[in-house]
Amino acid sequence: MSAEEPVSEGVLLDVRALRIAFAGAFASTSANTQPLLLAVDGVGFQVAAGETLALLGESGCGKSASALGLLRLLPAAGRMVGGEVRFEGRDLLQLPEAEMRTVRGGGMAMIFQEPATSLNPVLTVGHQVGEVLERHLGLTGRAANERSLELLTAVGIADPARRLGEYPFQLSGGMKQRVMIAVALAGNPRLLIADEPTTALDVTIQAQILELLRSLQAERAMGMLLITHDLGVVAQMATRVGVMYAGEIVEEAPRDDFFSSPRHPYTQKLFAALPDLAQRGGRLETIPGQVPALAEMPTGCRFAARCAHAWQLCRQQSPEWREVAVGHRVRCHLYSEAGGGHSPGDGGVPTGAAELSATIATTARQRAPEPTLLVVDDLRVHFPIRRGILQRTVGYVRAVDGVSLALARGRTLALVGESGCGKTTVGKAILQLIMASGGSVRLLGQELGGQSRSALRPLRRRMQMIFQDPFASLNPRLSVGEIIGEGMHALGMVGKAEQGRAAAITAVLQQVGLDAAATDRYPHEFSGGQRQRIAIARALAVQPDLVICDEPTSALDVSVQAQILNLLGTLQDDLGLAYLFITHNFAVVDHLAHEVAVMYLGRIVERGTVDEVLRSPSHPYTRALLSAVPSPRLAMHPRSQPEYIRLPGEIPSPANPPAGCHFNPRCRQATAVCRERYPETSTLTTTHTVNCHLYAPDQVNSQVGVSVE
């Protein structure tokens, strides 16, 4: 712990041995009988002016509780059990509430994860910024108005005078987050706490916001405490990194050290679990088990139960801090004198064996493509916009506007794009959960559109869906057995024999790596990753050929995501499943997909094999999208970050798409022809097509220079 170190100059925030506990689950008037569960146990760190400390950890590790604790904004059940929070020399935990209010917003300000809920929907933007100005700077009237304008300009909002009078619902998600940052900056804070500031945003918007935060920090020499689970964001933003696990900080290091030589086994595993090109098609490293529950924290090292290097000492004694390099500290017995015999460092880095298995899998995957399973041709889904008393249709939201796809057995097609581009709607329209307005969907040569429910039923067996949120996709009132058995029952499989069905359920549970005893338990008894396994089991139970995966890992932590991706890969190899993988995560695409289709505003703008699209992207949108993805590796890594292409603005409304090429208002290479008509499909190779005027047949010769740019 940092308690022994002298406080160096310029330290803004000094947290020592912070302990935060939550009262037990059952609310009662007598608090003394309630067990207190320690969510944060002895966390200590320092933030200096002008530096960014990133607190990295998976969900439930106590990073948000720590941040809220610093501001003394814990929820009702939370208690500060001990520790010290020194901010500019004052111990915040001793301050009276009245003084604490000047610290919040004035001394340190916070940006929350969800911009949609952190602004008050019934107050104008000007009011919400002005509130802080009045409280902390005493500005009112014209002075406050001018300052608000400056702030909105500073956070990069165009036409700030107009925006001041607008309400949050009139702003887009990225704009709301900018307003939120403006509100946070209004009190001139010395420290900014950003709690997952970009998690709810698309990659292109995320890149904009991160860039904004960086420049604001440099301008104002603010300290920043960045809380995130995303290694890519850490790589871009942090000066120092603290890794949290189960309520403790287990490793703290300067960024470069952290990325070049992570020391703690947990950190190493985290890196290894990231899907990446190097392990394409192979198995990802996973961390076995799960984070221990608050009520049953082990006495020794908290990671011991999941650690490959753990030995007797780890289970008995909690490790002390060890300095392994300048500013690089780690809490692990491997680096203590007693652990000298154990070789540190090499555990998590992918070894030769992993690469070998990757190549084997890759060769297995490149077998001859089988006959086409799913053909989608010119699929359209238009939602009518109705207005007035008579509900006349005044227009259409073109959620999906002419999408064509083909998918063969045993292959994975990734459908990528920002939120609102219609990729989920495509999935649901293929499954006939949403009626298509036009086009055809053919599965195994049979047309799905326009069929009656009974005619569709035999085809429903062939295709299933895995949903994004494992907490919303399982009925909490049914046991796991009933959930999995439902599809078999509805589709009339296994007949009426209870015995046969129970055996089938057990078999499919084992297939997804769950115990047969899970049958009688209820979804709430399982963790997020296990729930997603149940959802996969439900889909598999009817033995489909096609599985539509709608962002199946976006709600999961990195280590759990790796488990699910591995499972999906194994199932594809064993059963020859075809996946239509809907995602916005390029790392996952890179790892899992054979082909990629990029969607923008209801249309596919680029299609090709994964190498073609991700290594040599052609469409300006694809290139911008790829450049915006923060890489979880430092620039020294061979696959360095491509130059960031800034995408101005946000995705337009599909009710009123721009004329010509939909992308032209945001495209740097747009020409006159782009504003006039939608580009034809140009074929670059036999598998690679793109819809862009830059590659139109008559222009290819003149455009070569541009595309290389």
């Binding site: 689950a25 059952f26 609310a27 009662s28 007598s30 009988t33 649901k428 499954l431 959960l433 429910r453 569709l456 039923r457 429903r460 295709m463 299933q464 869906m465 949903f467 994004q468 949120d469 919303a472 996709s473 399982l474 009925n475 909490p476 009132r477 049914l478 959930i483 439902e486 599809g487 509805a490 589709l491 209820y522 979804p523 709430h524 959802a535 439900r538 889909a539 009817v542």
Partner: protein, 488 residues
Amino acid sequence: MTFLPVILWSDVLIWLLVLAAFLLAWLSVHNPLLRAAWQRVGRSRAGMASATVLIVFVAVGLLDSIHYRPRLENWEGHREAQGAAHAGQGEKPAAYAIEVLSLLDRLLTPLRTQIEKTYSEPLATRAYAKEAIELRAADGQIRQTRDYPRLKHGGAHLGADEGERDADVAWRLLRALGVGVLVWLTVATAVAAGLARVAACSQREAWRRIWHNESAFAWNAVLATIGGLLLVLLPVATLAVDYHVFGTDKVGQDVLYQIVKSVRTALVIGLVTTLVMLPLSILLGVLAGYFRGWVDDLIQYLYTTLSSIPGVLLIAAAVLMMQVVIDTHPQWFETAAERADLRLLALCFILGVTSWTGLCRLLRGETLKLRELEYIQAAQAFGVADLRIIVRHILPNLMHIVIIALVMDFSSLVLAEAVLSYVGIGVDPTMISFGTMINNARMELAREPMVWWSLAAAFVFMFTLVLAANLLADAMRDAFDPRLAGSA
């Protein structure tokens, strides 16, 4: 047979509800999720205390729901000679009293039959108003004096020693309290012993757990409530034998008896109404929310229209029509009790038909939310039939709202009955209910000197009943609402 069982329609419904409650209990034992929710209710101390009070009310109501007509010994004779009634006494067909009694009436026979002339204060030995009394003086002359006449039954055992009343009351109270403490200790020891056997620990340890709030069930609240109830009910019971504990009303009837009889009316109104309301609101709400489109439009139109009509107006119109029907068909009813009962049911029905809109709207909204959830879409992707989706996926996830609404509506319906009876469109005037008591109190409060006890007693009991129901509703909402209960 010494009596003729009478089955009123409301009795049937009440016992059906009891059956349904047992069914729910059976289901709860077998469904781990429901069981967990009920265990959360069991942990809530306020909830368990109010449940104990409610159980007493329900027990009274159930005792009052077994009706019979006693057999008349002979045309002029009365029921006293029941022991002598032999089956073979006469060949002529047995005659039964036209008065319908309940088991509760039988238990409360002294209260029911000891009728004074008119008003008397609680625990009084003399009437509340002066009267001209003829007294035969020692010299044999009859003299008229104006004085408070001696009550026929209130404190009759004291004879001429009316001054002894306070001492007598105090002695009875003391005795009752003593008995109460004894009974309570017995109950508490039995609970501790039972708990000790279940948890396999010493009785002392079980005792400590109860009072340190460490038992899984809020036994301390239950025991404390039982203690409180004993300390109130036992003294009332011992006093009620010889006094009018809450005084008498205008026609000399014991107010305590009226109060106890009102409990059943309140329960019927509160529970049977929800029976009418639930099917309507669940069916229409789920249909509107699940199918959307024109079904939704139609149902929304229906309930918006219905809830725009002033409720009291609608109820008044319906009740008056009902009354006309009842009055023009006297041949339908054998006894006055049956007529009053039908009118009570009609009121329940009308209240149910006018009050389903709120719950329906709530359920429609929840269904709209549920149908977009991914597990419903997963079921649709399997081609599961709509009806099955509704029954398996939507209804169970609505159940917490239904249970909460049921308990919450109970108290508001009990209050509504009081208001409607006050306006004169409530239950039959011959039926004793909190509403009719309050309605009568209107005149009593206006007279001088004021008669306050009738209203006060009705108020205290109704307040206790509604408060207990509300507290239990709170505890159940906390336990059943998935958002508050944490896990789904």
